[in-house]
Symmetry: C2
Subunit: 380 residues, 2 copies
């Protein structure tokens, strides 16, 4: 897939840079880990430092020192996670900033304007996300709203792309086309909702495809508390009906085993905070399954975290040293495990890419062997 | 100066890796910053993870992934900082570990053994440090103890170097010479004490020089609460009497202005936690004086921290972005400011090296100009 800031090979894992930085990692670390696409968060950057500040500092790529492609999620997921401090109407969502408590109002148009000002390569449509256990009525209601909002997002994005408006958030000095804004090649992707209700999911797909022609399609509202079987079933149902040439992005997923399972079901793109969040907690992915570096078993262990890994952490440091960093609460430990976990997932996507070349049968055999080693390895 | 793991040009600033890691920085960061010598802490590494663990993991260089020279301080300063939880006798110091509360006993021999097991290029003698305001009696008492301990350290270090003992702490498999230990070229440096009492300082020097022939001499017990004039006077008094070819190490110093003042007074080596500690607090050194990146003035500022600096932080990121990282409590900010501050001091030592080539008069002019800019620049 080609984006304004470069090529992205799929399957692809996107490290999450919520606040314009992938926690504990620098752009050089991300390049060394092989990251080709990084996700940042519209809601978080809007409330702090504000898209106006990012715009004045040259846009998000320049702001965070990342010259490869960027995707911004729309803020829908974050806003709907603010239980109790938000009010939803058909127009948009009023919510309270988690930073300073100020009241903010996010609409589909506003979410698109902000992402335009940030200058992401891929902007996501503003959607209404429901919890995994939402009943049919709530899921239907949220889907209808998401579809209406998608039309408004698409209209606004077209206006911005056509230069018919500079956008509220873009300081364009009065010119017809935004000057500090992103290249007009920014693309907008819709998000398929429908909760755990398969009929709604299929309807969502049909109606999203009827609204426009898209360069990517995201599946949202999964991995939000529903049983894993629901996720697999949803993906299996959607897979044969998705336009074949369009990248499919499974939002907020996932763990290594989720990537292996989802690629078998046609998914191309993933994002998840787990590699960095778990890394900061001392949990590392390895070919032989996850391990926690805080465990006393690693005290004198001269081996790398994962002998199959080529990252800076694994080629430089022993498990014993990494355990010491965590025991001594040293910042370097947080970074080294985060770096390893991101590199692990990016290496895994490269293996998945090779494995799917052989077709479904070969992939299934490869995945079974991968799973055997991952689940039956040492797990200290 | 040539050490087992490489050459060190002076004046030299040593970043401090108290627990076997320079806080928030990796060995690659330190190499990129131009560090040639790193300090680690005997006391801290003894209580956690223990020199036996470090030894089993290949010694301190391999443990922390640092292939250039290492200096370990002796633990004296740390042990004497544990007010109330230590008991001093002529034999050594009994103290309570700050990690697990266990009782430990550190003697001159033990301090040398530990540093031998760690495998530092330079080991420091175990000394009795008194606070800056210590009266003549206490300072005299501590000096006498320090001198007796120096003889014991030197004897022990000679035994280890001659292979007459593997040292308590070295797991040498019963062989005569330690196998997992450091190269026998580890060198031991004495520490000159005497508090703020100039006569004691001169006596300390004479008696230290009478005890042995040294490859380096440290001045300890300064920058511990005494007026800055005392430090300058001590250095000025000692300077003409110090052996000219032997590197002079001013322990625990310092700030940029301290380096400029101390090099004029003959000092070659420095260590200080300030660049990393201050960096973690958002304080950055610049050619125009220190600034605090948390200040609102930096919010939209596209300039680097220090336009004269070549570090990754200054060549990649704006002040506005760095301020955002601190406002959002992102880990990357701690690292980027630590990296810049370390690079700043190492660049400063390179400038000092060039400036002293011209002789005292040229140096004084250079220093005056440096000071003018550093103290009269912007200080937001």
């Amino acid at each position: 897939m080609t984006l304004p800031h470069g090529e992205v090979q799929t399957p692809c894992f996107m490290p999450v840079g919520t606040q314009g930085t992938v926690r504990a990692l620098s752009p050089n670390d991300l390049r060394a880990a092989g990251a080709s696409l990084v996700l940042a968060n519209t809601y978080h950057l809007h409330v702090r430092p504000g898209e106006d500040v990012v715009g004045r500092l040259g846009g998000l790529h320049r702001f965070m020192g990342w010259d490869r492609p960027l995707l911004t999620d729309s803020g829908g997921f974050q806003v709907f996670s603010l239980e109790g401090s938000r009010t939803v109407s058909d127009d948009g969502v009023e919510f309270q900033s988690h930073v300073d408590g100020s009241r903010r109002f996010l609409t589909p148009e506003r979410a698109v304007d902000i992402q335009w000002a940030l200058g992401a390569d891929v902007a996501m449509a503003f959607d209404h996300v429901v919890p995994g256990g939402a009943d049919l009525t709530s899921a239907r209601d949220a889907l209808e709203r998401t579809l209406k909002w998608l039309e408004r997002c698409a209209r606004r994005h077209r206006e911005l792309s056509d230069g018919r408006t500079g956008g509220q958030a873009v300081n364009n000095g009065g010119a017809d086309r935004p000057t500090a804004g992103p290249p007009d090649r920014q693309t907008l992707w819709p998000i398929l909702q429908g909760g755990a209700h398969q009929a709604l999911r299929l309807e969502a797909l049909d109606r999203v495809l009827a609204i426009g022609s898209w360069t990517g399609l995201a599946v949202g509202g999964l991995s939000v508390g529903e049983p894993k079987a629901v996720m697999y079933e949803t993906l299996e149902q959607l897979e044969p009906r998705l336009p074949p040439a369009v990248p499919r992005y499974l939002m907020g997923v996932g763990f290594p085993e989720d990537l292996v399972a989802a690629v078998a079901r046609g998914v191309d793109l993933f994002d998840c905070v787990a590699p960095t969040r778990n890394g900061r907690n001392g949990a590392a992915y390895t070919a032989d399954g996850p391990l926690n570096i805080r465990n006393a078993a690693h005290r004198d262990d001269p081996r790398p975290l994962d002998p199959t890994c080529d990252c800076e952490t694994c080629t430089t440091f022993s498990r014993g040293y990494l355990r010491h960093l965590f025991a001594a609460e040293e910042l370097l430990g947080l970074r080294l495990l985060s770096l390893h976990n991101v590199r692990y997932l990016i290496r895994l996507t490269a293996e998945l890419r090779a494995a799917i070349q052989g077709g479904a049968g070969d992939y299934a055999r490869w995945a079974a062997e991968w799973r055997r080693r991952y689940t039956q390895g040492e797990t200290t």
